[in-house]
Amino acid sequence: MSFEKLPGFRDIQIAEGVRLSYCRTEDFKSSLMTVSFVSPLDKETASGYSLLTNMLSLATAGYKTMRDFSTAKDELYALGLDSYVQRRGELLLVTLELSCIADEYTLDGEKLLYKATALLGEAIFSPLLDKDGNFPQSAVESEKVNLINEINSIIENKQAYAVKRAKELLCPDEPFSVDAAGSAEAVEKLTGADLRRYYDKCVNELPVIITYAGSANEEYLRQCVNDHLRFSPRTGKPVPPVTHRFGGLKKIDERLDMEERILVLGFECGLPANIYDRAVLSVFDEIYGGSSTSKLFMNVREKKGLCYYCSSYPSGRKNLFFVVSAVERDSAGQAADAIIKETDAMRRGDFSDGELDQAKKSVIRSLKTMGSGLASLTGYMLGQALLGTEDTFGSIEKNINAIESVTRGDVSALAQRFKLELIYTLG
């Protein structure tokens, strides 16, 4: 394959526990920066972090009302400044994301990134607090209502809801089943003083990962970060995932008023321990159910006409693998059998050398073309930081080498470790 340029990543340790990864690129008219605080995913704390992100998006000490804060963003070319929680395996990330147009494209040549980072710093270091130093209770109460509605609205997305239920049923006592958005019951109990404790934990203790992709050079970026994102050193280390124990096959059907039925199969597949295991898993996924030429798509959808989609989702940092499909109400059993049949085919190594080769090329291609979008660049940097990779740029080649060396024996050996643990239907 011919690729003329790979993204030039650089990693800088700003302080202990504070990492900046960046990629300078002049291919875009805007830039993207993320600041993430990394916490273990935990039932007790997820709701607090989640509600905290609502509060940080709302106002700051300097922009006390929502209107003031929104107007400040509009003044800076309607920059995007969002705060949200996201999960990566059994980690919860409290993330603030800044997107703004590049300085070169402002109408009057202003130093927009510098001003934008100042506003990001304001959102992080100067939250709006009451006289006791807590988040104001009245705003907390109304954000609780909003967050509870948001948590409950997952029912509107049947596939997401079914996957959430499947995780709860498969790992009832593991962090993996915790929803990063939190739970309505826990959100209900939170106070402004609780949120202050979650806030302090983020700003003073949790490891911080900053990513940036855009046209700023290192000197300018460092100036923005040094002036506006001054994090103190911290020692918190990311926690390894909890190993899932196979609990035997569960078959669970749940009712919901809907036209079709969502089918989720959950497999235990052995924890990917290193770069090579992850490469095997991604090649397996590509052949099995991760593309529109995969076995599941071609056979369960195209040949048998059982569904509109039938896709597989490996959980990156956990030894679980899901297949999700939406089927006619009476065909759930037939579809589950067809999916299991394709899993058996993978176990037997029943795929061609051509399929293996194409799958490897496709996974490598997605690595080599990440420079086509800002979000894929920052996403990769964040992923590597979470894996503890010291050299993001060097990791591209290491990942490519690992994928190239995957053999058909590796792929079928992985399939042989697959143990079906859940057949869940919703509808």
Partner: protein, 431 residues
């Protein structure tokens, strides 16, 4: 000899090349130095093209035909799936159908020419069999069920049926499970013959790509002699009034979902004037209902509105409407508040300072398109049929003045024809 016309916008540091191929096919090449290359074929035939006149003959298609055809076009000559060919050449392909058009596209890093030939081969000929059409109907029925289980899709579909009597926008893009039984092989072949003519197709590519190779590929698949023109789509006359004022449906949901619609007078043509009107309304609605507006901030703080609230203005051929959607306890009250705000702001209008701020914000938003090469290519492929391009859009936006925005808002944002669509939660969520 280079026959392409070059269009350039130096302020944006962007350019593209355009050529009307001898077959009538529209060719656009966007040079970009990215590791991924993109190609889009846009057919100016969408879900709204149901009744039409072709060479003096009037024809009607069952709702869902354009979408069904999209599903079948990737079936290659001997019945095999074109996706396999894309895979062989490392291309990642997909397609979608809107009310306006049908798009087929791929992205790749290598073998661009091979992938392009797979794409052009797919859209330049129809090769399906009765059997494969029957099998596809089953897959599409599953897709329809998926949308039927999506409350936001039903909310919007119900609103269109409350606002409009028989305009194609009242139909679902993919049709209904019952209705698609009428879509047979002969129906699909007729639609293909009438609409998939070079004049009605546009190919846009983006990346480091040799223009001559694009012309060579077009020569291979589209003959110079094809002289067919696009049929004229016929739209029914619509009254100025709405069909129903309220439509309510139950579905699994956390809270009431609402979409309030106001029917506006449609722009006569889908041209540059309509585009300017769209921008003006977008800026005006953001000033009145956006995240920094009095209306939004005040009602957010009261707990009446939340982050799901959204105000928009849409125009299609023969329609124009404002929609206000969100989730909240009392949709009737919210509809009244929106109506009052529209009426009041049509009189008081906007401050010049907030106007200037919002114009800058909309300019920044428009720049974002140039950073997403895939969306940019799609936009260029479709623009050909509207008679303006993305540079025209940016320049029109920069040129919009305060008086024009005020006048457009005053004349467009009438509250006379209002309808409300509501989804209420089913009481028994889980059994």
């Amino acid at each position: 000899m280079d026959l392409f016309i070059t269009k350039e916008n130096t302020a944006l540091n962007e350019k593209y090349y355009f050529l009307k191929h001898k077959s009538g096919l529209n060719l656009t090449v966007i040079p970009k130095d990215l590791p991924t290359k993109y190609a889009f074929v846009c057919c100016n035939f969408g879900a709204a093209d149901l009744d039409y006149s072709s060479g003096g003959v009037k024809r009607s298609l069952p709702p869902g035909t354009a979408h069904f055809l999209e599903h079948k076009m990737f079936e290659a000559r001997d019945g095999h799936d074109s996706f396999l060919d894309f895979e062989k050449f490392g291309g990642s392909a997909n397609a979608y159908t809107s009310f306006e058009n049908t798009c087929y596209f791929f992205s790749c890093s290598d073998n661009f020419n091979e992938n392009l030939r797979v794409l052009l081969s797919a859209v330049s000929g129809a090769h399906f069999t009765k059997r494969s059409v029957d099998r596809e109907r089953r897959i599409i029925a599953r897709e329809i069920s998926m949308y039927d289980d999506t409350p936001s899709a039903n909310l919007s579909h119900n609103l269109m049926n409350a606002l409009y009597r028989s305009h194609p926008i009242t139909k679902k893009i993919s049709g209904t499970a019952e209705g698609i039984k009428q879509i047979t092989k002969p129906v699909l072949m007729q639609a293909f013959k009438d609409f998939y003519v070079p004049e009605n197709l546009s190919l846009a590519v983006c990346g480091k790509i040799d223009k001559d190779l694009i012309v060579a590929a077009a020569d291979e698949f589209f003959l110079a002699s094809s002289a067919a023109f696009r049929p004229t789509t016929l739209f029914p006359d619509e009254p100025e009034t709405v069909v129903r004022q309220t439509v309510t449906e139950q579905a699994p949901a956390a809270t009431n979902l609402y979409s309030v619609g106001f029917k506006c007078v449609p722009s006569g043509k889908d041209d540059i004037e309509a585009m300017k009107r769209g921008y003006a309304m977008r800026i005006a609605l953001t000033l009145v209902f956006g995240r920094s507006s009095d209306f939004y901030c005040k009602n957010y703080e009261k707990g009446v509105l939340n982050e799901r609230f959204y105000a928009g203005f849409t125009q299609t051929r023969g329609t124009a409407f404002m929609t206000f959607s969100g989730a909240g306890d009392d949709p009737g009250l919210i509809a009244e508040m929106i109506t009052e705000e529209l009426e009041s702001r049509r009189k008081t209008l906007f401050g010049k300072e907030e106007f200037a701020r919002e114009k800058k914000a909309t300019y920044a938003d428009s720049l974002a398109l140039f950073d997403i090469a895939e969306d940019l290519t799609a936009a260029y492929a479709a623009d050909v049929f509207d008679g303006y391009d993305e540079f025209d859009c940016i320049e029109a936006l920069k040129a919009l003045d305060y008086d024009y925005i005020c006048e457009t808002f005053r004349s467009t944002a009438s509250t006379a024809a209002r309808a409300i669509s509501v989804i209420t939660p089913t009481t028994d969520e889980r059994g």
